[in-house]
Every structure is written in structure tokens, then in C-alpha cells.
């Protein structure tokens, strides 16, 4: 089979490009340490979410010196927490999110950032991000979930450490009452 020299050259360039792309992605995963959402979060029964030890009363939970877990339930058309109450985390913290959906498939995106995942009934999306500075982010459901999809939004507030501590303490007390 005869292939023109220029086309062979192009074929070689195309292969270099492809390998270069795969190389960049691998660097992002291995070098920078970006991980994909995967099956690590395990599964959950969407029918009995209310009885679940974590998703039954979702929210923020301190797990270490600077690390927190945040459980979020997405349902038509709210994030719990997120929509009526913002999700609150302190600055300089490492936060692991556990996101699931109660009814249909939703999306969970911290607007303008790479914190972005699908929320699928029965599955738990687990991912960790680091919040460096205090500030406010929007939350948006980015997968169509029904006729009110466009109102499904929320807020994530990164607080200063002292503010967060007093808020968190108050939450704990209210929870234990």
C-alpha cells in the first residue's frame, strides 16, 4: 500500500500529538495529583437515605485537625445543605465531599472551579478539595433533573477559621439538643 511521504509525515505528527495528550493527562494525574471521581465512595440505598447515618442528616463534620467531611444530598430541586443553608467550611482546610442523589440524576458544581461531579441515585461521589482562602462560591446543578432544574442552586461559604469554629460549635450544640 503506497502512502505519500507527506501523509506519512502527518501520520507521525498525529501520533506524537496523541501521545502528547495522553502524556499531559498522565502528568496531571500522577504529577499534579488530580484524581478522578471513581467507585471509592461506594453505594447507598436511595430509598432509605433518611435513615442513613450520614445522609440522614447531611452536613459538615470535622474529621481531623484541618480536615472535614461534607455530606450533600441532591434532590429536586435543592442541595441539602447548600440551598436553604450554605455549605460552610473554614479556610485552609481539606474537605472531602460525599454527594448522592435522592430521586433522579443531578450534577454538583462549585461554579467557576474544577469541583464538578455527577450525583447519581445509589452511588456516592467522593472527592477531596482544598480551600485556601475565605470567600463565597455558587453551587449549581449542571445536569437536567426536571422542570425546576434551573432554580436548583446553592452557596458554599469559605469562612475565616475563628468564625467557622464558633458556627461549628453552635451547630454541634443544636444537634445534641
Amino acid at each position: 500500500m503506497e502512502i505519500h511521504t507527506y501523509e506519512k509525515l502527518w501520520l507521525a505528527l498525529a501520533l506524537v500529538l496523541i501521545v502528547g495528550f495522553i502524556g499531559t493527562i498522565t502528568y496531571g494525574a500522577a504529577g499534579v495529583g488530580i484524581e478522578m471521581i471513581d467507585d471509592e465512595g461506594g453505594t447507598v440505598d436511595p430509598a432509605t437515605l433518611d435513615d442513613h447515618p450520614k445522609f440522614g442528616d447531611p452536613g459538615v463534620e470535622k474529621t481531623g485537625e484541618n480536615s472535614y467531611d461534607v455530606y450533600v444530598v441532591a434532590r429536586q430541586f435543592v442541595f441539602e445543605p447548600g440551598t436553604t443553608q450554605p455549605i460552610r467550611v473554614p479556610e485552609g482546610s481539606t474537605v472531602t465531599f460525599y454527594v448522592t442523589a435522592a430521586d433522579v440524576i443531578h450534577g454538583f458544581n462549585v461554579v467557576g472551579t474544577n469541583a464538578n461531579t455527577m450525583a447519581i441515585p445509589g452511588q456516592v461521589a467522593k472527592f477531596t478539595v482544598e480551600f485556601d482562602e475565605a470567600g463565597e462560591y455558587g453551587l449549581v446543578c449542571n445536569e437536567y433533573c426536571g422542570s425546576g432544574h434551573h432554580v436548583m442552586e446553592g452557596k458554599l461559604v469559605v469562612m475565616e477559621q475563628s468564625e467557622f469554629d464558633s458556627w461549628y460549635e453552635q451547630q454541634q450544640q443544636e444537634g445534641s439538643n
Partner: protein
């Protein structure tokens, strides 16, 4: 009932007349009936403008090579920009 009235075919017509006696595929000339309206409204008549036949061994697609290499350069620079500035430059990224 074609409403085509532009005279754009004027550039191509003399060429096609001249070349119909030459080495152009015969069908282009034989298919045209004498009572036909201007070829202008007929799609697919680029063959009428052929002034020379270029065979397999006489053709080096050098212009193509230039175009695709320019495309490759754009692809590579855009990729680097998108990955290292747009993507890795963002504040929040999933690290675990």
C-alpha cells in the same frame, strides 16, 4: 424556473469550452444539451473548469501539508493554554 442570474460563470465558461477538446473527462462536455440554460445553476460543475490533468505521480500536496501543520501548531498551543493555564490555574481542583 431557476432564478439564477449572476454572471459568475463567465470566468469558467471559456475555459471549459477550450478544454472540452482536450483531456477533460468526456462526460462533462457530452452531457450538456444545446437547449440547456446556463450551467450556472447546475451543481457539481467544477470539472468544467479543469485546465489540466494532474496524475498520481505529479501531485505533491504541499499546500495541504502547510495547512495541516499550521492546524497542528494551533492545536498544540491551544492545548497547552487550556491545560496549564485555564485548567490547572483554577483555585479548586479535585485532589483526592
Amino acid at each position: 424556473m431557476a432564478v439564477d442570474s449572476t454572471a459568475e460563470g463567465s470566468a469558467a465558461s471559456p475555459v471549459s469550452q477550450a478544454s472540452s477538446s482536450g483531456d477533460v473527462p468526456a462526460d462533462a462536455a457530452t452531457q450538456r444539451g444545446s437547449s440547456e440554460p446556463p450551467v450556472d445553476s447546475i451543481v457539481g460543475t467544477a470539472d468544467d473548469g479543469i485546465v489540466r490533468q494532474i496524475g498520481h505521480d505529479d501531485f505533491d500536496p504541499v499546500g495541504t501539508l502547510i495547512l495541516v501543520v499550521i492546524y497542528m501548531i494551533i492545536l498544540l498551543s491551544m492545548w497547552v493554554f487550556m491545560y496549564f493555564i485555564e485548567f490547572l490555574g483554577r483555585g479548586l481542583t479535585v485532589v483526592g
